[in-house]
């Protein structure tokens, strides 16, 4: 039996359209694991969606309303499906935009491995040349410090880290250890001195476990600083991450 035939059978079963031995065969397959619970429930989702979209035949619609919707759990699923589809319908452009912003598919559509390898080698060589030229012209000159999120406030005596800027240091880079895997998250940071002055900063690197920010040395004095972390959703809604990062410049 093909997957499509199997889905059609499950669909008829869910509508109460299978009787006698057909119903028993279907249920036995389900009991012995030939069809998984997730497959049955995914078919339920499909039916709910088709019903809401008005794509069921008249006969199916009657079976759906009289048989499928006969339990409270299914009615609850229908209620959720209504809200869910309303959400999806109003977020399609965002999905499309997000899809467009993904990695261009061109590289992965190349038909041969040799073409893919050639492009990867080309990119690697270009990157190598760029890094070489950059290293000749520019020597990074910054202090680096690793900070952990502290649940306390400065007033509560939170432990902070001391950092000494090099004499000719032009910037400070702080590695903020994230409280949870930051792979899928966008962040924003705010840096403030102990006098409440906002210090400009920018995120220069994000890893699953950490975030590196850079502050200009000229903006820093021998003071204590606090770094506040915000999670930013795709809808640009910010949520403050509980806790602070502290450091003191000497």
């Amino acid at each position: 039996m093909t997957t499509d035939q199997s889905w059609q059978l499950v669909r008829r079963y869910l509508l109460g359209d299978l009787k006698g031995s057909d119903q028993e065969n279907c249920e036995e397959k389900f009991m012995t694991g030939e069809a998984s619970l997730a497959e049955i429930e995914a078919a339920e989702d499909d039916l709910l969606d088709e019903y809401l979209a008005g794509r069921l035949t008249e006969n199916e619609r009657v079976q759906f309303e009289q048989h499928f919707l006969s339990t409270p759990a299914r009615k609850q699923k229908l209620r959720f499906a209504k809200v869910f589809h309303r959400y999806v319908a109003s977020h399609q452009p965002a999905a499309a935009a997000a899809a467009d912003s993904r990695i261009p598919p061109g590289l992965f559509n190349l038909q041969t491995w040799s073409a893919r390898i050639a492009i990867v080698v080309l990119f690697s060589v270009m990157a190598g040349v760029w890094f070489y030229l950059r290293s000749r012209n520019e020597t990074p000159n910054y202090a680096i410090v690793t900070l952990s999120l502290s649940p306390s406030t400065r007033a509560a005596g939170a432990h902070d880290t001391t950092v000494t800027l090099p004499d000719s240091g032009d910037s400070l880079r702080a590695v903020l250890l994230l409280p949870e895997d930051g792979r899928e998250t966008n962040y924003r940071v705010e840096v403030e001195s102990d006098t409440g002055e906002a210090i400009p900063s920018r995120i220069v690197e994000q890893k699953p476990e950490s975030l590196m920010i850079e502050l200009q040395g000229s903006q820093l004095q021998r003071r204590q600083y606090v770094v506040k972390l915000f999670e930013v959703s795709d809808q640009r809604i910010e949520r403050r991450i509980s806790g602070n990062y502290f450091f003191t410049v000497k």
């Binding site: 997957t3 079963y13 869910l14 109460g16 028993e24 249920e27 036995e28 389900f30 009991m31 012995t32 694991g33 998984s36 619970l37 997730a38 497959e39 049955i40 429930e41 995914a42 989702d45 499909d46 969606d49 019903y51 809401l52 979209a53 008005g54 309303e65 009289q66 048989h67 919707l69 006969s70 339990t71 409270p72 759990a73 299914r74 699923k77 229908l78 209620r79 959720f80 209504k82 809200v83 869910f84 589809h85 309303r86 959400y87 999806v88 319908a89 977020h91 399609q92 965002a94 999905a95 997000a98 899809a99 598919p105 792979r183 899928e184 959703s233 795709d234 809808q235 809604i237």
Partner: protein
């Protein structure tokens, strides 16, 4: 229905032992069988599917000593046989009231009522969507986007892009949707009542 038999810890141990010699595996098999029984009773339109599944398990457990020595085959099918009997009794004893449909029901169940409650549900769903990892959120939006007749082709392309079979994609989307439904229900429980 015979509801006077109580499952003792010893009888339950014997049931697990019958399902698998490995205790952990036995526990998993037990849970799968229970969930599948609930689903079957639900699909048959039983409103008390959980109770009927438990009644089925109780009856099997009561006979487990005998089954260990006499029954050959997949235990899940034995449970199924007992479930058939439990269902027959349920249908026979079901109050007539439950048989009555609602002939005067005039409102189409597809209609979306513009109530505060629905707005609250929507707000909760929005929150739950934001809590999903962005890849999962995108998958949900792409999978469920309306393309009318081209929906199947669209899903096939999506499955190809992800390098998985269409069936696997369908199940992945379903799991995310289930996760969202649970999240929304939890959110509503925490929300202050109007």
């Amino acid at each position: 229905m015979k509801k006077d038999w109580v499952v003792t810890p010893q009888a339950f141990d014997s049931l697990l032992g019958w399902l698998d010699v490995d205790r952990e595996q036995a526990g998993e098999k037990y849970e799968k069988i229970r969930l599948r029984l609930i689903k079957i009773f639900t699909c048959r339109g039983c409103t008390e599917a959980d109770d009927l599944a438990d009644e089925t398990i109780n009856r099997v457990t009561a006979r487990v000593a005998e089954l260990v020595s006499k029954y050959t085959g997949d235990p899940a099918l034995y449970f199924y046989g007992v479930a058939q009997k439990v269902h027959l009794e349920y249908v026979r004893n079901k109050p007539v009231m439950q048989e009555l449909k609602q002939p005067n029901q005039t409102r189409d169940p597809r209609d979306i009522e513009a109530t505060d409650e629905l707005e609250q549900e929507y707000a909760c769903l929005e929150r739950c969507m934001r809590e999903l990892p962005s890849k999962s959120r995108l998958l949900v939006l792409e999978y469920y986007q309306e393309e009318k007749g081209a929906k199947i082709d669209h899903r096939k392309r999506l499955a190809e892009d992800l390098g998985i079979a269409l069936n696997a994609l369908r199940i992945r989307a379903h799991r995310l949707r289930l996760q969202l439904q649970k999240c929304m229900e939890q959110c509503l429980e925490q929300a202050p009542a109007n």
